[in-house]
């Protein structure tokens, strides 16, 4: 059937300016970093851009730098292995290191980049198989019909499309309050996770606010949670090299045995990383323990609207939230 990629032109600019110029010259130019998501699309011939801009050779996009506030700036081309193994990341943001280390397999982490991981497209099988769904510019959702297979789809915030965010690192970055540094056609901007990851209600054909000619330069993780207690856990059908059914990231500070501050985010339950604000406000000021866990389970998934086959994600989400709180004991 299809094993061979379509024909395209490959450019490998060595500077940001050249990359920008190339993107400007070609309307359907596709940025390629590690290629781990992109090449699948091409091999299946579902997406066929005529121009690829490989950004691997641009020096500014690589590396992890310390910031004055105790945070870190991580270049978009930094590989997931580099993130997972970095001493700086492990010391300050273990939730991010853990999330990166749980992505796929060592081979994919060696090639896949942090920028590509947060910018990757959704895993909805209908969409990836090339069905002409809303996200693909069509006018129906194949995953949300009475007979559709949708065990991996949304519990929250569906809006015509029911696809979920696949990124493990995105969830950790959202919990840590990271910002995304983007070079656009005219100016640079820096946006929060809330603005970076977008739902179908904002734009049904994109998962992030990156537009054509936007290059993600790097991700800034502020010092806010550096060294604080952090937690990351992921549940998948297969405990390695598999996308999350649900994952969770948390950062918290304790004071006198009680939870003083907390940030908790769940992934793979809606199109964007989902901040569990109900849980956060419930547990601030409280002492972790069995009683609190019971309450957490009660609110963690409130408002969930399961589809035909994904009810099981509700207890998963509740149990993971309770476990995150248990890790504070």
């Amino acid at each position: 059937m299809t094993d061979v990629m379509h024909n395209f032109e490959l450019y490998q600019p060595a500077s940001l300016a050249d990359a920008q110029e190339l993107l400007g010259d070609h309307d359907d130019a596709w940025i390629i970093a590690g290629g781990k998501d992109s090449l699948d699309w091409f091999k299946h011939r579902v997406k066929q851009p005529s121009v690829l801009v490989d950004i691997a050779a641009i020096p500014e996009l690589h590396g992890i730098r310390e910031e004055a506030d105790g945070g870190l700036y991580i270049g978009a081309m930094t590989t997931l292995t580099e993130v997972a193994e970095s001493d700086l990341v492990n010391a300050r943001f273990p939730a991010l290191a853990m999330a990166a280390s749980k992505v796929a397999s060592p081979q994919i982490r060696n090639a896949g980049t942090l920028g590509g991981n947060v910018a990757q497209d959704t895993r909805c099988t209908y969409y990836r198989d090339g069905f002409p769904c809303y996200r693909a510019g069509g006018n129906t959702c194949y995953a949300n019909t009475p007979t559709a297979m949708n065990r991996e789809h949304t519990l929250f915030e569906a809006s015509r499309c029911v696809a979920v965010t696949p990124s493990d690192t995105g969830v950790a970055l959202a919990a840590l309050g990271a910002t995304f540094h983007i070079q656009g056609r005219r100016r640079d901007r820096e946006v929060s996770a809330d603005e970076f990851f977008i739902g179908p209600d904002v734009d049904i054909e994109r998962m992030t606010s990156l537009e054509h000619r936007d290059i993600l330069l790097g991700i800034r993780v502020p010092g806010t949670w550096a060294g604080a207690h952090q937690y990351f856990e992921k549940v998948a059908d297969r405990n390695a090299w598999d996308f999350a059914l649900v994952n969770i990231a948390m950062a918290a500070r304790m004071e006198g045995g009680a939870i003083a501050e907390v940030s908790m985010v769940c992934g793979a339950v809606q199109c964007t990383p989902r901040r569990l604000t109900d849980v956060e406000s419930l547990i601030v000021g409280e002492t972790p323990g069995e009683e609190l866990e019971t309450l957490v389970k009660r609110v963690a998934s409130s408002g969930a609207k399961p589809l035909n086959y994904n009810h099981f994600k509700i207890p998963l989400m509740e149990n993971l939230a309770a476990r995150a709180v248990r890790s504070l004991v």
Binding site: M1, H44, S105, R123, T147, N239, L245, F312, L316
Partner: protein
Amino acid sequence: MTGPALIFDKPNAYIGQSTPRADTNRLLEGRGRFVDDIQLPRMLHAAFLRSPYAHAEIRGLDTSAAKAAPGVVRVLTGADLEGVVEPYVGVLTHLKGLRSAPQMPLAVDRARWQGEPLAMVLARSRAEAEDAAALIEADLDPIPAACDAETALDPDAPVIHPEFGSNLAWERLVDVGDVDAAFARDDVQVVSRTLRFGRHTGVTLETRAAVAEYDPSEDRLTFHYSGQAPHMMQFIFAKHLGLAEENVRVVANDVGGSFGIKIHTYGDEVATAAAAKLLGRPVKFVADRYESFLSDIHARDHVVEARMAVDKAGKIVALDFDDLTGIGPYSMYPRTSAIEANQVLNLTGAPYDLENYRARGRVVFQNKNMMCQYRAVGHPIAMAICDGLLEDAAAKIGMDVVEMRRVNLMRDDSYPRASASGMKLDDLSHQKALNVLVETMGYDALRAEQAELRARGVYRGIGFVSMVEVTNPSPMFYGIGGAPIASQDGATVRLDAGGGLRVSSSVTEQGQGTNAILAQIAAGVFGVPIERVTVTTGDTDTVPYGGGTWASRGAGIGGEAMLQAAHALKEQVLEVAAVMLQSDAATLDIQNGSVVDGSGARMTLSDLARTVYYRGNELPSDLKPELIATRHYRVTDFPFVFTNGAMAAHVEVDTETGLVKVLNFWAVEDCGRVINPKLVDEQVRGGVVQGIGGALYEECIYSEDGQLMNATMADYLVPMAVEMPDIVVRHVETPTKTSVLGAKGAGEAGTGGAPAAVMNAVNDALRPLGATLWQMPMTPERILKALGKV
């Protein structure tokens, strides 16, 4: 059994040693010769258009744009192959009542599963062929489909082959003893469960691939393929392409795994051969991963209603089940898709002393990819039914599962005998294997640890399986039913002038090390260093006639033929040597490449061979030396040579996430004489991993309308190294009396046994929580559901 005795303890008896495979370096250095490595002059590349629907009328295929596309030489549709390919039907006469419809390589009029080939584009490059395939305008009219096997027999289900009146392909009932009376006894306890086994598939590293070459001047077809049974394919191409059998050469060089996937007749491969014949140009087809998932045969897909009655002492009084399996729209050619259900009926309960046994099997057509024989055909279902219920019953009557097996397993000194289903059994060691297993795993300590952890809220489980494996089949498997599938195999051993041995065999190598054990046997029995042996397999032009490799028969049947041939050549050589050395052949032997007697080496084999080949004048004229010998072997005394094994899994279930972690796995295997311990261990371990895959991860997930939803390696989950446990393998060796070699098969045991052991372990962990799960794969979702959390 007559033949050479005492060949197993000579100085260079390689049998029993972990000699390395000869082809390791070649493969590691990238010098393998896989089908895709073949480049021929004027070769065309094929890409297929496949049906996007599970069931559709083909109104028309407009190929004009595709034909006009760059590089395209020809576009073929089903209609173009009518008259070129004779349709094939997957039935066997000994499976009474089995029916299937004639099949063509490319669908004509109607497509019956998503992935069925509709049209074939032949172009200068694969890329151009794919580009053009996308330009074919297929006017397809989707019609109602019968996808779910469980409803395919409903009166209102769409009938896939209207001429049959229903979707039933085959049905068989085994009824032994008085099952109803046994269940009605008032001193028995009954457990009953519905077991579900998801569809999965082989996922070979090298996908199916073929290069077909046709020479019109000689009306000769050469078909290079990635497969297991060259002679079977030779017959099939001859018959269905209208060629003389001797004019068809089938070659299987290096093969990157097959697991039973590559032993069937696939439309795309037949079309490749037909296209080569039509065009007179070589044609290459290599399946991509997506079409592998859509078109490589799938396996399992069973729903079983089962019940078991046991008495107070834990004795199984009766076993009764009903198995329903979906096989796709056709029975696969030529092995048929009824064999798996047949095996389930034959094998269930076979390790146990069982008097009352009833089993019904129904095989139904459905609009999904075809289901057929894959590693450990029927075994995982058969073992899970009986051992699953056995452990369930043990829990019910409060008996230890090992104790309960001891009560029920056939005694090791009770053979020959038959199973409840009538299978002839001999040389088995269930009780001993279980004892070795219990000792190896430290059973009592594990149980103590389990109880202690449970008190702390950690849920671990221990599960067992006692199993049989069908190996070394006789003609009773396929030949009796009319299939062109040899149950005998041949080996040829030739002494070359340089003193080396060139051997060939009709069994084939797909990565399991067949060639290595053939070399071991030849070297050991004949008496040369193993480095002096060169092995050829997989070429119908040069190897003896035989069945190939499947049903764990390579070592037991191919190996015995090699043993007999090597022994025969040795006798022939010693006869010549006796004349040349003027001594008595009975006092001579061959060791380390030389003819020896009590005083040491007398003559090298190369001296002997050179004399024979070059200087025949030095030999007496009445001596007619033959430095080549061929022998064939088949199993005659039994339909199958059964092996047995005992396995155990130790798992931990995370009750909050539903994740199962396999902590340990132990396998005790009795495959008779072990020719190469390392290779047998690899086979058992690989098999266990594949079995764990079926138990925990692998499933071809179809939507209700017959769309395969996870046809990529990112979505279809095979087990990965990181989450596999250490697998401890132990052997009990009870050689089979059916051959001198005494080897039974070992290739499928792990796959056949592991699923039951893992399922039992998971249920052992879940039972204290009031839950059990009887559906494979046991995914986090299903575990959470079983626990009542969803």
